[in-house]
């Protein structure tokens, strides 16, 4: 078994769509809970990651330009990550297909965690 990070990305508009009303927010939440639970039940959830605040800053370029919030380029909003365990990339990709964000404009970036001696 190897470790993979799922990096969740979406757009601000899609996030608004998913959370737009309490009913929709609850449906999104329930879809997530169901998906994560399934990963967990099958022994694939290694780490639930860390929830991220929606505020923050982006520092860019040689001039170290600081912009408020991660929304500066709202076409690509990083929502957070989890760590899963899978046999190989194929399985990790397959498992990611249940992510509720894929119902909207979101994406899941699946990245193997580097293994072997690191130094």
């Amino acid at each position: 078994m190897s470790g993979f990070i799922y990096l969740f990305r979406t757009t601000e508009a899609d996030q608004r769509e998913a959370m737009g009303t309490p009913e929709r927010a609850q449906r999104s939440m329930q879809a997530w809970l169901a998906w994560i639970r399934e990963l967990e039940a099958k022994g694939h959830l290694k780490d639930p990651g860390q929830p991220l605040e929606r505020s923050g800053a982006v520092v860019r370029g040689k001039k170290k330009v600081v912009t408020d919030g991660p929304y500066a380029e709202s076409k690509d909003l990083v929502l957070g990550f989890i760590v899963v365990e899978a046999k190989n990339l194929e399985q990790a990709v397959e498992l990611s297909k249940g992510c509720p964000m894929l119902e909207g404009a979101g994406s899941v970036e699946v990245r193997p965690v580097m293994e072997g001696p690191l130094s």
Partner: protein, 420 residues
């Protein structure tokens, strides 16, 4: 890791109404959109925190704490630039009164009181009834504009307009309705009317999706129960309103049969009636009986009681029902009441008399788009053996059907009038 706690159905929607009430207490009703932003923010935080770790043990307290912290930040940051609740005035200015005030705003009692005041404010006499309903559904029940539009069969843009106009009226008043106001009595009656309409909309619902929208009925009942918790509002008339809701709601499980199809009272399996709700409804009806006043709510509740206490259709006391409809016609005449009265006469005196009563309805053009008028004609024609006439009426009814459930129901009636 992710716990197996489930969120109750509509949990976010309900919590939204409660949080908006608490936040309005702090921010003032003119800052309603700020309160809504804070609620939205609490939901987004919950999403991030819970989605991979599971729902906390007390999700409601979690959300309230998130909203409280956010409110505290906002007041601290903006108290010099913005005016918050005029009722709290200077108390928000100093740190040592601010935190306790915010805690107090989020207690169960304050939330209940503020929801009541909000309900009375939403029923402002300057707002047309449909705007009152849209506002109640939006602010107190947490429905979005498009959800309200599909529940009330209205366009999205129209609902948005109603909500934003309504919120302007609310904001203009600066504070929520004062429950000790001299206008309390008259406002209470407007509130009851709005809740009655909300319930009927759900029960008789002309929705494209489903004929019975249980959610609207449940919201109307929840808010009526809230009204009964406030002693000055818990009058015999309010009890009558509650009784009629509970007794009708008890029949909801039988109104749609096992295939989700609309089922006429005649065909309803009475063992599917909700016995607990029925009992509660009867208890509420008893409490409505004190005092002199007999309102249309009393009469409608009494009709529901009469239906409820019959073990079968044959045992129904149609004499009592007709006479209750007579009194209802005298008190609050409407074509729909006249239609139901005619149906009851048909049951009491036979199809011929029922048809006479149906044809005698004075303003039947107001019923022209109501499918159950021709359907009732069809039913009675069928009963006296005039199949051709019955089919004609059922076809008219079918043309007026407002949703698939009604359509399938009427198609079934049409087919059964063709069978020999």
């Amino acid at each position: 890791m992710a716990t197996l706690l489930e969120l109750n159905e509509h949990f976010f929607r309900r919590e939204s109404g409660r949080m908006v009430a608490a936040l309005t207490r702090i921010f003032g009703v003119h800052n309603l959109s700020l309160a809504e932003d804070v609620v939205q923010d609490a939901f987004c935080r919950a999403m991030e925190a819970w989605k991979a770790r599971g729902v906390p043990e007390n999700p409601s307290a979690w959300l309230m704490a998130a909203a409280k912290n956010r409110a505290l930040d906002i007041v601290r940051r903006e108290r010099t630039a913005r005016t918050f609740a005029p009722e709290l005035g200077r108390l928000l200015e100093t740190e040592w009164t601010l935190a306790p005030l915010i805690d107090e705003a989020f207690t169960a009692n304050t939330i209940r009181d503020e929801q009541l005041r909000m309900m009375f404010s939403c029923c402002h006499p300057r707002l047309p009834e449909e705007a009152q309903l849209a506002l109640i559904l939006n602010i107190l029940c947490g429905f979005g504009a498009s959800e309200i539009a599909s529940a009330l069969l209205t366009g999205h843009a129209a609902i948005e307009k109603r909500i934003s106009r309504g919120k302007k009226v609310l904001a203009g008043a600066r504070t929520l309705f004062d429950m000790r106001d001299a206008e309390f009595e008259s406002r209470l009656s407007t509130v009851r009317r709005a809740l009655y309409l909300l319930f009927s909309e759900g029960y008789h619902g002309a929705s494209a999706k489903a004929a019975v929208r249980v959610e609207l009925c449940e919201e109307a009942m929840r808010l009526t129960a809230l009204l009964l918790e406030h002693p000055p509002a818990a009058t015999p008339t309010t009890y009558a309103l509650a009784a009629l809701m509970w007794l009708h709601a008890a029949r909801l499980p039988a109104r749609l049969d096992s295939e989700g199809e609309l089922s006429a009272l005649v065909d309803q399996d009475r063992t599917h009636w909700d016995a607990r709700r029925m009992e509660e409804g009867l208890a509420l009806f008893e409490r409505s009986a004190s005092g002199e006043e007999v309102t249309p709510y009393h009469l409608e509740a009494a009709i529901a009681v009469t239906h409820a206490s019959a073990r079968s259709l044959e045992e129904t006391d149609w004499r009592a029902i007709v006479s209750l409809y007579d009194r209802l016609m005298a008190l609050a005449p409407s074509p729909v009441v006249a239609l139901n009265r005619a149906i009851a006469i048909g049951e009491r005196d036979g199809a011929e008399r029922g048809l006479e009563a149906l044809h005698a309805i004075a303003d039947s053009e107001r019923l022209a788009r109501y499918p159950f008028h021709p359907a009732a004609l069809g039913e009675l024609e069928l009963r006296r053996g005039h199949r051709e006439a019955a089919r004609k009426h059922f076809r008219v009814a079918l043309g007026l059907a407002r949703n698939d459930t009604e359509r399938r129901f009427l198609e079934k009636r049409l087919r059964s009038s063709a069978d020999v």
